[in-house]
């Protein structure tokens, strides 16, 4: 019976480990959230409270009182939204072809798409910069949306091809027997079935575009088009020595909370989508 206590100790150690993992994962975000609810003097204390006491919403008021941050949020929504939408439309069409139809250079196309997902964004930075200038798209929504397709489109195609491939063959054959053309089959039979896949893929593409920093930083000037990551990274105080940490944390929470909620709600599907895209790759 010497095993009993040892088992309890092991169980306790295991739970201690679990608690440590949870604290390690969650604490930084928790700290950002409570920092955003503290008034500045409580923020700059050598003995800070681990609860949002005293509590204030003034940091959020500061963030939204200038017109810029609201504008940045709208910019991000527009840019990430359209990049996602275009990627989904083009992605569905090519993923259907790549996943269900047979045509000679199919593997070559798949390799090109895979190569693009491994591609470092910075490698096309100068080429893209020059191209956007030539097209008159520098510092426009169009320019950012266009450049974001570099990573949202291949990702979408890669994941959706997997979804299409997983659908049962019989459905398609039944449609053909009924005299449907391949295009009708795609739109009426296959597309409704990929609904969940579309939601997950779209969500992941949107997150990527929402978080993008390098292109947004390089291809925009001023606040008209600037997205939130760029805005947050460049938040300044009245002087270089006065960094407005409270406002930065408030802005960070505003940008992150919707993502965290979406990720938690769609958790199962996102994990499935990520691992389908990555592990099968």
């Amino acid at each position: 019976m010497t095993k009993g206590p040892w088992l309890i100790v092991r169980r306790l150690l295991f739970y201690a480990l679990v608690v440590f993992v949870v604290v390690y994962s969650v604490f930084p975000f928790y700290w950002a959230v409570i920092s955003s609810f503290k008034p500045s003097d409580a923020l700059f204390s050598s003995n800070p409270s681990f609860l949002p006491i005293p509590f204030t919403l003034s940091q959020y008021e500061n963030v939204f009182s200038g017109a810029a941050f609201g504008r940045n949020l709208i910019n991000s929504l527009i840019v990430a939204g359209f990049a996602t939408l275009i990627s989904l439309v083009l992605g569905v069409l090519s993923a259907y072809a790549l996943g269900r139809l047979r045509f000679p250079p199919k593997n070559a196309v798949l390799y090109i798409v895979l190569a693009m997902t491994m591609f470092p964004q910075v490698s096309v930075l100068s080429g893209m910069f020059v191209l956007l200038r030539q097209l008159g798209l520098f510092n426009t929504y169009g320019g950012l949306i266009f450049s974001y397709l570099l990573f949202t489109l291949p990702f979408t195609i890669w994941v959706l091809t997997g979804y299409f491939r997983g659908l049962p063959r019989e459905l398609e054959e039944a449609a053909y027997v009924d005299g449907a053309t391949p295009m009708q089959t795609l739109l009426r039979v296959m597309l409704p079935l990929t609904g969940p896949g579309l939601v997950t893929t779209g969500l992941l593409a949107f997150i990527q575009a929402w978080n993008e920093y390098l292109f947004a930083l390089t291809f925009t000037i001023g606040n008209e088009v600037k997205t939130v990551p760029v805005a947050i990274a460049s938040f300044g105080g009245a002087t270089p020595f006065e960094i407005p940490w409270g406002s930065i944390m408030a802005a960070s929470v505003v940008v992150t909370v919707p993502l965290v909620i979406m990720v938690l709600v769609f958790q199962q599907r996102i994990v499935a989508g990520l691992t389908a895209g990555a592990v099968k790759g």
Partner: protein
């Protein structure tokens, strides 16, 4: 014939994508190669001056490039190693059965859901030399004897940034490894239990070998990602020599120094370095990249 119609339709469906690929990747990449042989100002692209391999020769002697190269390698090595070990540990924990497992799985996803720029800012605040919570906790627990300026100390700044990146990217690693663990049939462990193998032996002789394919794929993904690191470093320390990565140096050359020719040469070099890693990995694991 259905097949002919199918082929035509397939081409039609893929065509818009191919067009976009040429426009957003092919053409800019060709431009980058082209300009890497020229001397040009990014603001006045109209009058480039052909210089042959001069930019590449300069790159080989450029001490800044060397610094950025080693910073990137150090960052990649430590970040990927640490997050692999941590990710594996976390995956094993959330793979085992215990009360509240669902909640823990949700909690570990949070760092992944946070934008890199935001996580960089959060940690910059936490690592603040005077008001940062890391210093407060560290001094209270007696781990730190006095407050440390993590991001101003040239010896600590890269490790600090690596720690931030590890925090942010470990969930992704853990997820991929968890998916790998779930593919391992549980009855082999029952057999091992009957044979009297300890948990530790089971880990080394069963879990690890069977997990290798998932591990390799995850390693490739994370290595390629780490080699092109930009956001976390640029936001936390800008173009600081102690931390700047190849991508950070690349952007500095192109935008701050306006040097289109040399900047493009650096871009090509980064692409080549990443391709070398891809080829090495592919050779090493053989065909993991195949989709079928």
């Amino acid at each position: 014939m259905l097949t002919v119609r199918q082929t035509r339709l397939a081409w039609l469906l893929v065509l818009p994508t191919l067009l976009v690929v040429v426009l957003v990747a092919g053409y800019p990449l060709a431009q980058v190669f082209y300009y890497s042989f020229f001397k040009a100002d990014i603001a006045f692209v109209e009058r480039p001056e052909f210089v042959g391999f001069e930019n590449y020769l300069f790159l080989l002697r450029d001490p800044d490039f060397r610094v950025a190269f080693w910073n990137t390698l150090k960052f990649t090595f430590w970040s990927v190693s640490l997050e692999t070990i941590l990710g594996l540990a976390i995956a094993l924990i959330v793979h085992s059965n215990f009360k509240g497992r669902g909640l823990v799985r949700t909690a570990i996803l949070i760092p992944w859901a946070i934008p890199t720029v935001v996580s960089a800012k959060m940690w910059q605040w936490m690592l603040n030399d005077i008001y940062g919570v890391i210093n407060v906790i560290g001094t209270k627990l007696g781990i730190l004897s006095s407050k440390v300026a993590f991001l101003a100390n040239p010896n600590l700044v890269l490790p600090a940034i690596i720690a931030v990146d590890v925090w942010k990217t470990t969930p992704f690693m853990a997820l991929l490894l968890l998916a790998g663990l779930q593919l391992i049939p549980s009855d082999i462990y029952e057999a091992a239990d009957i044979d009297g193998a300890s948990k530790w032996q089971q880990f080394w002789t069963l879990t690890l070998p069977l997990l290798t394919p998932a591990l390799v794929v995850a390693l490739i993904f994370r290595t390629l990602d780490a080699l092109r690191v930009f956001d976390v470093i640029f936001v936390m320390t800008g173009v600081n020599t102690a931390t700047k990565s190849l991508a950070v140096y690349n952007r500095q050359t192109l935008i701050d120094f306006q040097d289109l020719g040399y900047g493009s040469a650096i871009s090509v070099a980064i692409l080549v370095i990443i391709m070398i890693f891809v080829v090495l990995y592919m050779r090493f694991v053989g065909g993991v990249g195949r989709h079928d």
